[in-house]
Symmetry: C2
Subunit: 117 residues, 2 copies
DNA sequence: CGACTCGTACGATAGGCATCGTAGTACGAG
DNA sequence: CTCGTACTACGATGCCTATCGTACGAGTCG
């Protein structure tokens, strides 16, 4: 379902076969990025960068989204001025069956354990 | 000899509740450490540091084992001159059910995909 | 005791990275 | 065209880390 409405700006994504486990783990080992991924998984839809209210500046937010994209965890598409972010669930599940769910479950358990919601 | 075998040297380990998902993911995001953990899981037994034939110096090897221990992934015990390393499977499975297996499976799939053993 | 093995400690180095601020670009609305 | 919004690019900074080499401590065995 690739929408044809792509602005002139194209963002480089790794192909499915180029995604490396170490890269994914490194991307998710940052609390800020894990939080982003958890939120994306919760809504199972695309979200704009500005939707996230992270305790860092916009520059840093851009950096984190790029790390997630370049590691193959999320897909980013420009839609007007907004940049939509979606989890690459199909690719990740295809490469590493059960991993994403296990990671999300682990993150959720830890959040409960540490008193966050 | 099955003595209490607690040499004077004791190594600090995080308690189960202190293990953080981010720390575990960071520890496993290094190829050298992921390799160590895969080998430990394969034999499901304790292995001495010297058993591993890593393409780095002994200093660096020590460093990696310490990262794994301090993140809660492995347990280290001195046994004579040797230092035995074992996966903390019980603790990890207790905190994050299914995560370790999913990670090991993902690593194995990637190894196959990339033509390594 | 002395020699040998296993692993550590410490210092150095080079690169990576999370963060910021500022200046700038792309896009849509008025 | 102009303005505001959304996001980026770039440079700087301070911290972390993977790596090495060398010197050392702990334990075993002759």
């Amino acid at each position: 379902m690739t929408s044809p409405a792509v602005s002139s700006r194209d963002l480089p994504h790794p192909a499915r076969e180029e995604i490396r486990l170490e890269g994914v783990l490194h991307a998710l080992s940052d609390p800020m990025r894990l939080r982003i991924v958890r939120e994306l998984a919760a809504v199972s839809d695309e979200l704009s960068c500005s939707h996230f209210d992270l305790p860092v500046t916009k520059s840093t937010t851009t950096h984190h989204f790029r790390v997630l994209r370049e590691s193959g965890v999320i897909r980013q598409i420009y839609r007007g001025t907004a940049k939509m972010n979606g989890l690459r669930r199909d690719d990740l599940d295809g490469l590493f069956p059960g991993l994403l769910d296990a990671l999300l479950d682990a993150a959720a358990r830890q959040a409960v354990r540490l008193g966050s919601t």
